[in-house]
């Protein structure tokens, strides 16, 4: 097991190197010069020169690349122009916000989709299966920014139950946090429900034909006991790996949902960085997300190997 973990860690290093190189290159493909774009159209030549000097754009590319990596080793992601703060600090400040919506949405999505997947698999081909699978397909087909807006129209404008946006920190007022986060978490959860329901159903269908499920039935176990104790437990392993895939979905979902509901999280920071052409901030936030993505997939791989010993050998 330790050997497996070491090998996976070693494999992650070149990926992280490539990822950081990509984040660096992204700033180089900006047509013209990031300094022009950042300074705006009415900036004087000296202002642009000052920005270019600050960004180090007046230096050779290999020196900038070396600087980029040296700074990364110190955990320094650069300095935001528009927000006048350290990029790393800006990200760290916003992590709890995004993390809390993400967890809230998973808390809604995981039980819902496992229940829906089991029911659909149990009643395969029946009307209820069709209904659940159509719902799941809608979940992956609906544009989340649109359901967000429709949710605001219905629950905020029409019924007046929930606020149409904004953020109340959990520590200040837990009731306010629940009210302001429920709609965003539901919207963020729809796509996850779509994906997870489909996967749970197909895994359950695979497993329900296995001998040990038949044995459990033959022993006279109740249907619920057979499904949950025998079938679901074995279906959970592949479902767990999908959680890693969900991360990408949650991050992009958070970018959109935080924008729709004006929530000050990491996703909104990325959009803000892009709309204000704050290149160091764009670079830093992207690298942060990609790095987190690599780490989460690493954890998923390791937990998968822990659950299924055959994988360690491969």
């Amino acid at each position: 097991m330790i050997g497996y973990i070491m090998r996976r860690l070693a494999a992650a290093v070149p990926v992280l190197l490539m990822v950081s190189l990509l984040a660096f290159l992204l700033m180089q493909i900006v047509p013209g010069d990031p300094a022009y774009a950042m300074a705006g159209s009415d900036a004087s030549v000296t202002e642009i020169e000052a920005i270019r000097h600050d960004l180090g754009l007046d230096r050779a590319w290999y020196l900038r690349l070396a600087d980029w990596y040296l700074a990364l080793l110190r955990g320094d992601l650069g300095h935001s122009y528009t927000l006048r703060a350290d990029v790393a600090d800006l990200i760290i400040e916003r992590i709890p916000v995004t993390l809390s919506i993400a967890l809230y949405s998973l808390l809604i999505a995981i039980p819902c989709s496992i229940a829906m997947g089991i029911v659909a698999a149990r009643f395969r081909g029946k009307l209820i299966d069709l209904g659940i699978m159509t719902t799941a397909l809608l979940g992956v087909s609906l544009p989340n920014f649109w359901i967000g807006i429709m949710g605001i129209l219905f629950f905020s404008v029409h019924l007046g139950w929930l606020p149409s946006g904004g953020y109340v920190p959990m520590g200040e007022d837990i009731g306010g946090w629940i009210r302001s986060m429920t709609l965003p978490a539901l919207v963020l959860g729809t796509m996850q429900i779509g994906l997870l329901t489909r996967i749970t159903r197909s895994e359950m269908l695979d497993i329900m034909h296995k001998d040990y499920v038949r044995t459990a039935r033959a022993k006279g176990g109740s249907e619920l006991r057979v499904l949950v104790r025998h079938a679901l437990r074995n279906a959970l392993v592949p479902i767990v790996t999908v959680i890693g895939l969900l991360f990408g979905m949650i991050v992009t979902g958070a970018v959109v949902v935080e924008q729709v509901f004006s929530i000050p999280g990491v996703g909104r920071l990325i959009v803000q960085a892009i709309l204000t052409r704050d290149y160091p901030l764009i670079q830093g936030t992207l690298l942060f997300v990609a790095g987190a993505f690599v780490l989460i997939n690493l954890l998923v791989d390791i937990s998968y190997a822990y659950l299924d010993p055959r994988i360690r050998q491969a």
Binding site: V15, M18, V19, L22, I29, V30, P143, W146, V255, I274
Partner: protein, 299 residues
């Protein structure tokens, strides 16, 4: 011994497109799947809406009528009008042209790039590690986020949106093609072609690639669905096609500000996106069941 390699061995394996479009049962089997049939009908309707939908409208997508600002849906304007008095039905119809165009371009570029890189990595062992590590790095960014970053760097325009989306989906497509190519390269007909003296390039293009086509087509159908959804999301976030363009995403973005007075501004473009994405997802599910039963929805 003159040039055996270019004569006989090509017939060792029937090309998949014969099975699909020839007299064989493939198309009949496809239409027997309700999933495929529904998906196909939706996509056909969409193409119809994009081509002749505009004929039903007396309006131009960008012509403003300030006397009819924010008009509710009715006989004059089926889907109502927006804050500039532009007819929303017309804009949704023209929007379907935009979405299908972006989807098609993304699929073509992703298909070519993904197929070549995937087949190379799967067949030429020496290149596998290099190609796949680079692909891994791209895949470390969530697809949508990479697309956002690229359009943000290049600037918003149709071609940049297409490039950004293709770059985001090529690695995922390449990985799937590589997986199939790894299986195909062990088949006897590949061995036979090699024994007959075929060149690597020939084996790759004539034997390996055509046999990866099934999984490629399935993947590209889903890429079409993602591309339509992603283009709308990019437009909504303000990094897609710039505003006067009547894309569905732009329609929803401007509708957000008038949500209280004019719900129809964001309702109809959103329904159109859902309809389109649903159609391509169903089409992909149906195709997968028939063409490539082993492949599961991974993304």
């Amino acid at each position: 011994m003159t040039n055996i390699s270019t004569t006989d061995h090509t017939d060792l394996q029937p090309a998949p497109w014969l099975a699909l479009f020839g007299e064989g049962a493939m198309s009949r089997r496809l239409f027997r799947s309700p999933t495929f049939a529904v998906g196909f009908s939706i996509v056909a309707l969409l193409v119809l809406a994009a081509t002749i939908g505009v004929w039903f409208s007396p309006y131009q997508p960008n012509s403003m009528d300030l006397t009819a600002r924010l008009a509710a849906p009715g006989p004059q304007h089926w889907f109502g009008t927006d804050n500039f008095g532009r007819d929303i039905f017309t804009r949704v119809a023209v929007g379907s042209q935009m979405s299908l165009l972006v989807g098609l371009l993304v699929v073509v570029i992703t298909g070519i790039g993904g197929a070549l890189l995937g087949a190379l990595a799967g067949y030429v062992r020496a290149l596998d590690n290099i190609i796949m590590r680079v692909m891994d790095a791209f895949m470390a960014f969530p697809a949508m986020l990479l697309a956002i970053a690229i359009t943000a760097a290049l600037g918003p325009s149709l071609m940049n949106v297409v490039v950004a989306l293709a770059v985001s989906y090529i690695p995922r497509t390449a990985r799937i093609v590589r997986g199939t190519a790894l299986v195909v390269r062990e088949q006897q007909y590949v061995e036979a072609a090699l024994v007959a003296g075929a060149h690597t390039r020939r084996v790759l293009l004539v034997h390996v690639l055509p046999n990866c086509l099934g999984s490629l087509i399935v993947q590209l159908t889903f890429v079409f669905a993602y591309a339509v959804l992603a283009e709308a999301t990019l437009s909504y976030l303000g990094v897609g096609l710039p505003p006067p363009a009547p894309t569905w995403g732009n329609g929803i973005a401007s509708g957000r500000e008038y949500i209280v007075e004019a719900w129809w501004m964001s309702l109809f473009p959103g329904l159109a996106i859902t309809f389109a994405v649903l159609g391509f997802n169903l089409l992909g599910d149906g195709l997968r069941d028939v063409l490539d039963p082993h492949l599961r929805a991974e993304t």
